[in-house]
């Protein structure tokens, strides 16, 4: 392991993490729900009567974030995402992420942030599994092939 000091962004990452934590905190405190994006989206497939409005409101807010970010943040903070994967790989990855997050009842937000925050053994195990699988996959792609 070598630390990538040139790309290390401790302050913006910590600040962004705190905003994510505040959002998750407000969601459980004011709306009584766990902020888990895969569950919020998956619950709309298909939508159920009386259970769709809050999901759509949250997702609309999420969709407005890039526009608001461009308006609020200094220009040096606004970066286009660097997506190196080919279209075929993006499709395979999307299928795995979509199916896997629903099958395993959560993703980085639901298990990783909220689940660990409430010290849920299930979420701690899930996070270790998906982080471990992600690390193993990047190792395989970059070092073995």
């Amino acid at each position: 392991m070598t630390i990538d000091w040139t790309n290390f962004t401790p302050w913006t990452s910590l600040a962004g993490g705190i905003l994510i934590g505040i959002a998750a905190a407000l969601f459980i405190l004011l709306n009584g729900r766990v902020l888990g994006v895969s569950g919020i989206l998956g619950g709309l497939l298909p939508p159920k009567a009386g259970d769709a409005g809050w999901r759509i409101a949250f997702l609309l807010g999420l969709f407005c974030a890039p526009l608001v970010f461009r308006f609020l943040a200094p220009a040096s903070f606004v970066h286009a995402p660097r997506i190196d994967a080919s279209l075929g790989l993006l499709i395979a990855a999307g299928l795995l992420v979509g199916f896997g997050t629903r099958y395993g009842s959560g993703c980085t937000s639901g298990h990783g942030v909220c689940g660990i925050s409430r010290l849920s053994p299930r979420s701690i195990v899930a996070t270790l599994v998906f982080m471990g699988a992600g690390i193993a996959t990047v190792f395989a792609v970059r070092q073995l092939f």
Binding site: P81, G94, L95
Partner: protein, 137 residues
């Protein structure tokens, strides 16, 4: 009223993802590249988020309602079962292949990235496929 707070919380969450670097797949893959050139930034995202979230969940732990008196929907599942492990494994492989997890992929799609849209379309198909498998199980 609730629709407004949900909208604003979604917005705040998205701003956090953008500021943190989570919406940049190359940065996410740099974090997952533990055995190569490792960018530890996303560990700080987790620390910041959990550092705040911990107190909120501790506050509701012994409550039966949220702070506004409404229902509290906490997960009831306790078991570490095959589904949790296999689901996490499949998700992790997909995450490691593209560097996208669900929230950041939606935000990057909203930013107009066509490749993120392709990922999200496949992700939605994967979620629908889950619904199909789940109904048959």
């Amino acid at each position: 009223m609730h629709r407004i707070t949900e909208f604003l919380i979604g917005l705040l969450f998205g701003l956090g993802l953008l500021l943190s670097g989570m919406t940049d797949p190359a940065k996410v893959l740099g974090f997952l590249d533990l055995f190569g050139l490792w960018d530890p930034s996303l560990a700080l995202v987790m620390c910041g988020a959990i550092g705040v979230g911990f107190f909120a969940f501790a506050l509701v732990k012994h409550r039966t309602t949220n702070l506004l008196g409404g229902a509290l929907h906490l997960p009831k599942a306790r078991q570490i079962d095959r589904r949790l492990l296999i689901g996490g494994l499949l998700f992790g492989v997909g995450w490691g292949l593209a560097g996208f997890c669900p929230g950041p992929a939606l935000v990057s799609t909203a930013a107009g990235e066509i490749k993120a849209l392709v990922f999200v379309a496949a992700m939605v198909v994967g979620m629908v496929l889950y619904g199909w498998v789940d109904r048959r199980a």
